[in-house]
Each structure stands twice: as structure tokens, then as C-alpha cells.
């Protein structure tokens, strides 16, 4: 589940901030933080050979929030190109947010900061919010932060930007794939898709299921529990991670490279989208 913003409940309490419920509340909060000389959003694209992937998440969040599932699906299949005004507008929205020097400080540094280090300062209030997936809690916990609604770090849902798309949620995930249609294989597949499996897997921790048959009490970890409420919500507009669905030449190639250049070298949205479209495989 990727539609989360990490923050520090302790820092929020100290500063008298409240968790924003809408996009406008979030931007207003960010302005307030900027007014207090705080860095509102941290960000990091650095990830070794995969540098750039967090940027794809931000754009995905925005495409889904602005236009909903239909456009999102067409974008994944390249019926809507990157250079389409809609996608460009979504990217501009990302730029207004994560490339706003008032909120993020040094924009270019986002490209060279590793995504792991990006949020390391949240518990101490070096920066206040970081858009990252649910797994990010493990990284913060590794650095010694307590993850709870009153602790050093916790997550809130990244608000929708308008009312047209209800509860937009972007997520990654696993598939079960069968290499044979034998009966026992199908039985295993059915089991893997069942609430029974999902519940027992969830109880092992660090795993999320969209299966509505999984009781929320099965989740040990409060972040996963929160994530599960959004995944299992029937009103949710769920979209699978677009860069994972696009051809590798784009989703694991041009998109990473170009988004990194967009942040790190100030490459324009027009040039970035043009280059990604050019990298889309011909057939």
C-alpha cells in the first residue's frame, strides 16, 4: 500500500499540528510548517541502480487522484501518453508539491538522497512529512523509531485531491501464477486467494491483503492495520503500481532515469515526458 504519508505524531503534538484529511488541509499545514522554518516534506529518489522509483510513485498517486482508474489504466497501456496534457498536468501537480522549495528545501538534493535516509529525520523533526509506502515503517523502526499513532513515527492516508475520485489508493503486490492447470495446482491457487490463507499470512506480519474476509484484528502492526482499512474499503479506487505494469524499458528504465533528471537536473516536464514516450517499445 503506497498511498501513505509518514510523519511523527510526537513532533505534530509538540508543534500543535493535526493530521490533514484533505489535500487543501495538507498544503495549508505545509505552509504553516514553512512559516515555522521547518521542512514540510522530505524526499529521496536514491536507490542504487533503481534510483528514481519513488518519483514514479508520486506521479502515480497524482494521476489516480486527478483522473481516476480509467485514465490511469489507459496511461499504463500507453493509450494516454506521458506527453498527454493530463499526465503533464499531474506531473506539474507533483512538481508544485515535491519540487516546491518552500516546502522541501533543496529540491535537487532529493535526487541524491537515498529513499532510506530521506525519512530518517522525521522522528527528530528535521523534516515533517514523507510520502512513502507502508513498508517504510520497517526502515524507520530499524533506525530505532517506535511506530505507533502516538510514537516517533506513524503514517496517515495521502488525501485525495478532489471529490471525483473516491479514496484513491495505489499499491504494489504479489501475484499467484500457475505454470500448470492440474487440479492440485488449482487447489493451491484457490487456497492462496482465500481469506483463510490471507488471514494466516497476515498474522505472520509484514503482509497486506485486500481480501475483505481478513479481520482487521489479524494485523499485528498498526500501520498494516491502517493500510488494510483502505484496501478493504469497497469505496476505494485501487490502482496497481503503474511502473510495475509498464514495459520494463519504461517502468524500470526511462521513467526512473528521466524522473531523476527531472528532480536532480531540473529537466523540464515537456522534455521528460518526450523522452519517456520515445523509450516506449514500438510494438
Amino acid at each position: 500500500m503506497k498511498s501513505f504519508v509518514w510523519y511523527s505524531p510526537k513532533q505534530f503534538k509538540e508543534n500543535g499540528y493535526t493530521v490533514p484529511k484533505t489535500w487543501d488541509e495538507m498544503t495549508a499545514l505545509a505552509d504553516k510548517m514553512a512559516g515555522n522554518d521547518q521542512i514540510a516534506f522530505c524526499g529521496g529518489l536514491g536507490s542504487g541502480g533503481a534510483t528514481g522509483w519513488p518519483g514514479t510513485d508520486w506521479v502515480e498517486q497524482m494521476v489516480l487522484r486527478e483522473y481516476g482508474s480509467k485514465v490511469y489504466a489507459d496511461w499504463v497501456s500507453h493509450k494516454v501518453k506521458f506527453s498527454d496534457p493530463k499526465i503533464k498536468a499531474a506531473m506539474q501537480k507533483v512538481a508544485d508539491w515535491m519540487q516546491n522549495p518552500k516546502w522541501v528545501g533543496d529540491v535537487k538534493a532529493i535526487a541524491t538522497t537515498s529513499f532510506q535516509d530521506a525519512g530518517a529525520g522525521i522522528p527528530e523533526g528535521k523534516c515533517m512529512m514523507l510520502q512513502q509506502a507502508s513498508f517504510y515503517g520497517n526502515i524507520l523502526a530499524d533506525n530505532g523509531a517506535t511506530i505507533s499513532p502516538t510514537g516517533d513515527a506513524f503514517a496517515f492516508y495521502l488525501p485525495a485531491t478532489n471529490d471525483n475520485v473516491t479514496v484513491p489508493v495505489v499499491g504494489g503486490g504479489e501475484f499467484t501464477a500457475a505454470f500448470s492447470s492440474r487440479r492440485e495446482v488449482k487447489a493451491v491457487q484457490a487456497y492462496l486467494a482465500s481469506a483463510t490463507f490471507a488471514t494466516s499470512r497476515v498474522q505472520l506480519d509484514n503482509w497486506l491483503s485486500a481480501n475483505s474476509g481478513v479481520p482487521l484484528s489479524a494485523y499485528k502492526n498498526p500501520v498494516d492495520k491502517l493500510a488494510a482499512t483502505y484496501l478493504a474499503n469497497p469505496k476505494s479506487t485501487f490502482a496497481f503500481d503503474a511502473s510495475d505494469l509498464m514495459p520494463a524499458a519504461v517502468g524500470a528504465g526511462a521513467e526512473w532515469v528521466e524522473f531523476t533528471a527531472w528532480f536532480g537536473e531540473g529537466k523540464s516536464i515537456a522534455d521528460v515526458t518526450k523522452a519517456i514516450d520515445a523509450a516506449w517499445p514500438a510494438d
Binding site: 536514491g46 536507490s47 542504487g48 541502480g49 533503481a50 534510483t51 528514481g52 528545501g105 533543496d106 535537487k108 538534493a109 535526487a111 541524491t112 520494463a248 524499458a249 524500470a252 528504465g253 526512473w256 532515469v257 531523476t260 533528471a261 536532480g264 537536473e265 523522452a275 517499445p281
Partner: protein, 326 residues
């Protein structure tokens, strides 16, 4: 604890059984073949001594290299021919242009700088006491992997935004001298040179050690004779020392070119090939193993091979000359 033991023991059993089987098979073959006498003895010995190496070279290097050339004319999944498309892509793609420029820079700057510094140190080392201590310390990075070296230099090139404490050595030095540190990995084209420094740091010791040995091999009487003639430091070096170690110097240069061409670990770990630092070997890896395009990846590998060919030809010519002399 128990899961560790249950996963570790089989690993070691597999190692020791593999080594045991390897030597057992060799011993048995040697014993059997050793009994053959007469006309067949030589061909059998030849097959046994040379056969394993030739099969492995054929399967591991020669056949794969030929297949890579074939793949470079095929589509991403290597199941259809695309003609020269993967090569024309290289000519037109703006990112590949950057890659080619960087790779060229790497194979010019790195070998020259490495060899020159190695030679300077080799000459200087010859004139000091306790040379073995600095020699081992200078040679030490050779034992460190490129990944390890990159991490070492991550802590040198680390940059924090202005106002924060600079924990990177380079930033701190720049700040100490009253200048403003930059986000080093973003500063084009400086970043490429900063990556080269990592490579030079690991490889310089190699050149220094062999050049130092070559300098020590210069006959003492020649040096003495020219010193008697009044040749001073620089002239002695230019007229006597350098000509005597020139062939070793070229070996160091050639090793540097081949090494710099293949460099990929450093770029991958430091920048992931971003910010205009990408090089051929890294792009080849990304194409094949991240973007699953065997066609483009193979074409890049072929270009890599073409670039080392002149060195190959040069090496063979030198070797032939040496062999006819000795």
C-alpha cells in the same frame, strides 16, 4: 539459531564434496591414463591436461561471445531478427551519446592518470627509507571491492544541505577553505571525475608495484655510469629510467584501459548511472537485467568488445615479439 545451522551445514557439505569429487576424478583419470604407454600416451596426456580448460573456454567464452554477437541483431527476447536496429538506436539515443562520451573519458583519463601517478610514486619510493610501509598502504585498496570502495567514497562525497554539519570529507575540506560545498554527485561534469578517482584509488597500487619492480630491475651500472657523467634527477629519469621501464608502463596503461572500459560497480553504486555519469558497462547491465532487452544489451557488449580490440592486437604483437626474442 537452529535454522542457521540447518541452512549452513549443507552449504559446507556441498563445498567439500565438490572439491573432493573434483580431485578424486582427477586422481582416477591420472592413474588410469598414466598406465598407457607407447604411441597413445602423448595424445591421451594432452587431452587430459588441456581438454578441461578448452571445453570450459569454449562453453564459457567463445560460444557465448558468438551468441552475443547474434543477439545484438535480434529483438529484446532474442527470437526475431531486427537487423541493425540495436546499433542505430545507439547512434540516435541522446542518453547513449552521453554514455559514449563518458566511456571515452574513462578510457583516456583513468589509465593516463593511474599510470603517471604510479610511475611518480614508484620513482619516489625507490629513494626513501622504509618504503615497504607506504607501499603496502598504497597497494591496499586493491584488495577492496569496487562496491566497498564506493561505500568508502560515499562517506567522502557525502553532502548535506547548507547550514547542516558536513559529514563528508570533501565537503568539509571545501568548507574549511571558505568555499561552499556542492552536491557533488549532481555537479556535471565533475561527478564523472569524482567516480574516476574511486577507480584510480583502487587500481593505482597495482601499477605502482610493478613499475617499482621494473625500476629496481634497471641495472645498477647503467645508472651509475650516467650519474658519473653528471646526469641529474630529471635527465637520469628521462634518458635512462623511463626508456627501461617503458614496456611496463605500457602494460599498466593497457590494463587501465581494459579495466576502465568494464567498470560498472562504481557507477551503479554511486549514482546508478544518473546525472550524466552513465557508462557503457552499466548501461549494458541495465538493458539486459533490469529492462530485459537482450538485443540492446548485446549490442552494447559488442561495442565494448570492439573498443578493446586494438589493445588485444597490440598485446598479441608484443607477446610475439617477446617470444621470438627469448
Amino acid at each position: 539459531m537452529s535454522d542457521f545451522i540447518t541452512t549452513t551445514i549443507p552449504k559446507f557439505t556441498s563445498v567439500f564434496s565438490a572439491i573432493f569429487v573434483f580431485f578424486a576424478v582427477l586422481a582416477i583419470l591420472f592413474a588410469i591414463a598414466g598406465r598407457v604407454n607407447g604411441k597413445k600416451a602423448r595424445p591421451i596426456a594432452l587431452t587430459l591436461f588441456l581438454g578441461p580448460a578448452l571445453i570450459l573456454l569454449l562453453a564459457g567464452l567463445i560460444i557465448p561471445a558468438v551468441r552475443t554477437i547474434a543477439f545484438s541483431f535480434m529483438n529484446p527476447d532474442s527470437n526475431g531478427w531486427v537487423g541493425l536496429a540495436n546499433y542505430t538506436w545507439m547512434l540516435h539515443d541522446p542518453n547513449v551519446k552521453v554514455i559514449m562520451i563518458n566511456t571515452t573519458l574513462w578510457i583516456i583519463v583513468v589509465p593516463l592518470f593511474t599510470a603517471a601517478l604510479a610511475l611518480l610514486l614508484a620513482v619516489m619510493l625507490d629513494r626513501i627509507k622504509h618504503e615497504s610501509i607506504p607501499k603496502s598502504l598504497l597497494f591496499m585498496p586493491m584488495a577492496i571491492s569496487f562496491v566497498g570502495a564506493s561505500i568508502i567514497f560515499k562517506f567522502v562525497y557525502e553532502y548535506r544541505r547548507e547550514g547542516e554539519v558536513q559529514i563528508g570529507l570533501l565537503s568539509a575540506i571545501v568548507e574549511f577553505f571558505g568555499s561552499t560545498p556542492q552536491n557533488w554527485m549532481l555537479s556535471k561534469p565533475l561527478n564523472t571525475f569524482l567516480l574516476m578517482i574511486i577507480y584510480i584509488w583502487t587500481q593505482m597500487g597495482f601499477g605502482m608495484v610493478i613499475l617499482s619492480a621494473a625500476i629496481k630491475a634497471v641495472p645498477a651500472d647503467i645508472v651509475e655510469a650516467s650519474a658519473l657523467d653528471g646526469a641529474g634527477g630529471w635527465r637520469l629519469f628521462r634518458n635512462i629510467t623511463f626508456p627501461m621501464v617503458k614496456s611496463t608502463f605500457i602494460v599498466v596503461l593497457a590494463t587501465g584501459v581494459v579495466g576502465a572500459l568494464k567498470v560498472f560497480d562504481i557507477v551503479r553504486t554511486m549514482t546508478g548511472g544518473n546525472f550524466g555519469t552513465n557508462v557503457l558497462a552499466n548501461e549494458m547491465y541495465s538493458q539486459v537485467f533490469v529492462q530485459f532487452n537482450q538485443g540492446k544489451g548485446s549490442a552494447l557488449a559488442v561495442v565494448l568488445f570492439l573498443l578493446v580490440t586494438p589493445i588485444l592486437v597490440y598485446n598479441i604483437r608484443t607477446l610475439r615479439k617477446e617470444r621470438t626474442i627469448s
